[in-house]
Symmetry: C2
């Protein structure tokens, strides 16, 4: 596979904003069962080896997982404060659960689990997210082992089909639209 | 009207993050005509007087305006880097165009126009956003007058019905769900 046309400007943005830990945070929009949008902050976990797919992790007990099962499409909005630029990445979402049939993706799921910090891994052992909090006991849990992911741990992949890159710096601003066609990616300048 | 239960924690977050200009940026998710989600960064412009409605501005020539006409519902995701907290605000969207029947909202639209910087106001005079860029002449425009909004300038209102507030600091994290019922707002602690 060849790198998509938006990979170079995105890598550049990540590099120039690397002093900010939250430059790896972005917002992922999905669609709820009632056709209304949902939106939350997620953490970028690098690209799946040999692909242009962004990796995230999530808990299958979250509403997000049900939303993706129903409508496997998302748009990520990624704003970089230091360089004042925005990437909007629209594409297919793939949730890799414990029973996924592809062994390569299962392996990637395990690698993602192992790459987590102890703190991040422990959150997957917490009480059911989003449910009313009855007591704090559901959070007094040991750190799960790094070897085997907990059953509801999911790798989440976003495979962008269209990327809208806006640079707020510049007079006027610069904006490019990257689009996937059958054979690769095309890019054109569009009005900001 | 009385302040919603989430107004105080949100005001607190805005205050404690006030040194970051981009703490007033948030991401708004809407739904496209093809039922896929859209997501982009927008700038918070304060509350509509005497209400719990968040104000933004937008250009009626944007795709966002069509999406809101079709599905007048959005979810804003607002991450505050300094205090490490997130607000997810889901609610009805109302686009106040030049021909809106409510004179009070038309007045608010005019006030929002006047409150813009020259630079922000000029962007509404730029060439059609999102169209292929043919030349740079569409950006060599004078600053529009502050007195009367350009025809495609819109005030955009988000009237939250549910607000999910997550504090990443804390062990475990704290999370509250604010929900509107007929008479007012209720709030409960939920699992992070």
């Amino acid at each position: 596979m060849s790198l998509a046309s938006w990979r170079s400007p995105l890598a550049h943005a990540l590099h120039r904003n690397r002093s900010l830990a939250y430059a790896r945070y972005l917002q992922l929009a999905t669609v709820r069962a009632d056709q209304r949008p949902a939106n939350r902050t997620i953490v970028f976990r690098g690209f799946l080896d040999g692909t242009n797919q962004l990796q995230f992790v999530t808990d299958a007990r979250n509403e997000k997982a049900d939303q993706i099962d129903r409508t496997p499409w998302g748009e990520a909005c990624w704003y970089f404060p230091k360089t004042r630029e925005q990437f909007r990445l629209a594409g297919a979402l793939l949730l890799v659960r414990a029973d996924h049939p592809d062994p390569l993706l299962l392996k990637a799921r395990q690698t993602a689990w192992q790459a987590l910090s102890d703190g991040a891994r422990t959150q997957f052992a917490w009480a059911h997210p989003g449910k009313p909090q009855t007591d704090r006991d559901g959070f007094n849990v040991p750190v799960p082992e790094a070897t085997t992911p907990l059953p509801h741990f999911c790798l989440l992949l976003l495979d962008p089909q269209e990327v809208d890159h806006l640079e707020l710096r510049g007079d006027p601003q610069n904006r490019w639209l990257h689009q996937q066609d059958g054979s690769g990616w095309s890019v054109q300048a569009i009005n900001p």
